[in-house]
Symmetry: C2
Subunit: 308 residues, 2 copies
């Protein structure tokens, strides 16, 4: 039984108020794999890259237990490319350039060896591709988690709604939750989204943490207060990787364990923003991760004696 | 030994996207007294009102253990009046009208019976008045907490800096912390503010919770995710009242107990926003408050087993 991750493996060029990167390795599935492979292996990757994607990146990930059997390499094409510039608040950004390249005609093919999929992580991608993967997997996975974004709400809402009706956990940020639900209050937005199919919705609020909703239950996970956010690119994907990585490791999809999974995701995301691209994720040790999770415990723990 | 509260007792007229209030009772010290008196009595009030301020409001508060000896009543003058309109986000607002009235020439006089002050809560007010109160109290209180706002940073910064140098805990919201420190990161802002005098700084982030900083330690308190914020007026003052009320009740000013105090403040603030003005605070029972504090416990509690 295994974790299957669908998403882009790509190039990014990033500008922040603090610096500018060259064209560096990025993509939702790349960040998810770097993050999730700390907790569970194998991570079975489903993606497409061009001949320009560094072979050594694939090798390094393979050495971490990330299977590349489902990654199509189109030698004569170019990898997906995104370029963006972050504003001072590091929460908002402008897209400077998007080149679909290999993604334009991507048809995912789920290898037979991926049919043991127990946890399916649908990284941010064209909803029709996400749907194709769901439909190719013969036995319904134990848990299907979907990450998406406002772009698909505007350009492919009906496909997206179909995907949302088939999943267990939806990951969106606060403005996306409002857009998808037409509700301003995040509590009301979550209620509306839960009626669309998923049993759980996680609303990510960047530096303000994340909320998990399930029926009438709610859990709040803080973000670590950071002196410096260097580059937020991939933080959401890294969160998703930590979240599903923890669930796949523990094989426990209860509400209680989802709380823990969100803390793991938040801890991983807090590393991601410390350096450009995946750089910080590449150097992490188990001890780094455990220490960071301990910081999250300390951050919100309190004792209180009720007055009456 | 007692809690002394300094601040306005006044009238507000409030517009929100959901409704509009008449001219209703408000003022920082009013909200603080309503909130703190759930936890500690007496609350010794220091303020000024005009002849138009309802005598029955003073009586109701007195019946709750709020001493009015330090409240000057200027029968021939009018009470302070503020009118504002909230935007859809309920975090930002426009001031429509401000009439200083009795506040224009207010000289606070600390009664002898207030000299046993152990906890001093300086509600949002002209810094020179806050300073006068500090200077009139002969024995340095165990804890001095200051609430202030951007208006005084713009109009009376040097007085404000003097007040800040003499207090223990500063309460500000996120944009005020940035303005006061000149730092965008709230972690960096808190460091700068801690160098100005206080041992603790609490940065309130409205619906995103609050952060407590003390040296290198940090604690994060969530806000309760609410389906409906009806009127945010007084939420910060109500928070301050719950915070200092809990500390005055327990007489424990350790970092650990300040965490609990912030949760109590957050719980009280979560009630305040449910109705216009002080209406929700007037009907609260101990059981309501304990249940709400329990909700805060449940909201952030998690168990996690480290992977390594």
């Amino acid at each position: 039984m295994s974790l299957v991750v669908v998403g882009t493996m790509a190039f990014d060029a990033i500008e922040t108020p603090f610096g500018k990167s060259d064209k560096i390795v990025g993509g939702a599935a790349t960040y998810i794999a770097w993050s999730a492979s700390n907790f569970t292996r194998p991570v079975k990757q489903l993606s497409v890259v061009g001949g320009d994607f560094p072979k050594e990146e694939l090798s390094i990930l393979e050495a971490r237990g990330v299977s590349m059997e489902g990654v199509q390499i189109k030698e004569n094409e170019k990898s997906f490319f995104w370029s963006g510039r972050y504003h001072l608040d590091m929460n908002t950004r402008d897209t400077l350039d998007t080149q679909l390249n290999v993604l334009a005609n991507f048809t995912p093919v789920v290898p037979d060896s991926y049919q043991d999929c127990e946890f399916l992580m649908l990284g941010n991608l064209v909803p029709a591709i996400q749907l194709s993967v769901i439909n190719q997997i013969k036995n319904r996975p134990k848990l299907v988690v979907l990450d998406t974004m406002n772009f698909w709400m505007e350009s492919a809402l009906s496909d997206l709604e179909e995907v949302i009706s088939k999943i267990d956990v939806l990951l969106v940020n606060d403005s996306e939750a409002r857009q998808l639900s037409g509700q301003y209050s995040l509590v009301a937005a979550a209620k509306t989204i839960l009626e669309m199919g998923p049993k759980y919705v996680i609303i990510k609020k960047g530096e303000h943490g994340a909320l998990l909703f399930n029926g009438d239950q709610v859990f709040f996970a803080p973000a670590l207060p950071l002196e410096m956010v260097f580059d937020p690119t991939g933080a959401g994907d890294t969160f998703a990787g930590g979240f599903i990585g923890h669930l796949a490791r523990t094989k426990d999809i209860s509400f209680e364990n989802m709380k823990a999974a969100i803390i793991v995701g938040s801890a991983m995301a807090s590393f991601c923003v410390e350096k450009f691209g995946t750089n910080r994720l590449r150097e992490l040790t188990k001890v780094d991760i455990d220490n960071r999770i301990q910081q999250f415990k300390d951050l919100t723990k309190f004792e209180i004696e009720l007055s009456s």
